[in-house]
Subunit: 239 residues, 2 copies
Amino acid sequence: MDLTGSLALLWGDRPGPRRGPKPALTHDLIARAGIAIADAEGLAAVSMHRVAADLGFTKMSLYRYVPGKAELVALMADLAMGAPPADLGGGDRCARLRAWALALLPGFLRHPWVLEATTGPRVVGPNELAWMEAALAQLDGTDLGGAARMDVLAVLAGHVRGIAQQAATTPGGDAGTQLGAILAEVVRERGDRYPAVKAALAEAAEGGEDEALGFGLDLILDGLRARLGEPAGADPTQS
Amino acid sequence: MDLTGSLALLWGDRPGPRRGPKPALTHDLIARAGIAIADAEGLAAVSMHRVAADLGFTKMSLYRYVPGKAELVALMADLAMGAPPADLGGGDRCARLRAWALALLPGFLRHPWVLEATTGPRVVGPNELAWMEAALAQLDGTDLGGAARMDVLAVLAGHVRGIAQQAATTPGGDAGTQLGAILAEVVRERGDRYPAVKAALAEAAEGGEDEALGFGLDLILDGLRARLGEPAGADPTQS
DNA sequence: TTTTATTTGTGTATGTTAGACACAGTTTTT
DNA sequence: AAAAACTGTGTCTAACATACACAAATAAAA
């Protein structure tokens, strides 16, 4: 894993002068082809051969643009998530952080494989850094230390990721429904050993509403408001 | 991905009567061999051949015990995380949830690959379910709905995962330090476009203390306390 | 304008991986 | 003793990432 190589690649540090024939492909084109495959058939379906073939080229020609598969996936992930919204709306700091977190979700839902692609050590791309910047900027002027700010970020992003991951397995497509069904089956058969899970599951299936993301965010942001000494914002779920 | 198969496997639903020779291996033995490899060299180093070889057997003999690699990894992950602590200590509900989350961390730190292995759709094993049960049991008697309880779980576990993931890339070993160094380098070169990240990073590197896990947990649990209408517990970071 | 250096796209080859399948040896049941 | 069932193994295939060398193309240098 040559991380230094993929850095220059992700950040577009290409040497200028060329002499040979003009390259027929671009990073953008390649990444888009990979994204299309991953969206339709999952990250496992993305192979050098497949991406190249979809572009009408040979597998080996891809290596002229990308050092390896890891870098290709990094490129795909950074492009798929896109840039953060320029405007997080009005409201106080925490409301804007809430908007930020909410804005993060659609990307994960549209490209569930990004969750897989961004676990473990990786190179942070321009878009990912832009998302970080957008959130951290909201914490300017607070008395939080650098580590604490990073931590607020981690909590928020972690929660969104968790929700996205949960959502990615739920919709009725492939193994998703199976997973839910199997979990339910296990709990039904051996539910006596897991009463709390059984109860929560039953009640969740009954009530049905999943405002999971909002609920968790409110939890976190209420805590943050208290920590910052700011007044509680408008909160629809509590009087 | 045959999820039904791995379910019976993870939960030990083996058919009773045997006629042929006694099996030389057990799921436990196989999983431990895999865990040893993953701990030492990462999840990528775990292959059927490698695990079998380390046990002194042929690759194909493993398939007598495990339907495929996915099931092997699921087995490894469930065993590696182990059972939740029987006693979460005294204190109020939120203090016990805090203890639960803190107890979750060492497993992730000892076996960083579990993060990778438990992203995406998977079969939930006995230990994972036991962890869920332990946390959900603390929410008994609250007015939270089933979905909300699951969500509290997701927020807490998600945060611990995030911290573990961050920690997994930090310690000075392989690509970890590189990643941090590269991020720092990117920010140093182009820091003007990411002032908030730059500031947070600089301050974090300076201050140094990373009570990241505790900070985030307090954030979440403060929010939860407010939601539950319980008084704030003893909190060392606030008067 | 000719030559030369450089870069692209490709074909071929290698090593690794997951998994299918059939077979021989072993053990329990009949 | 015979039959049935199960285990461990060897062989085989297909997919994959990646190394390497080569021909065609193209821009800079002569």
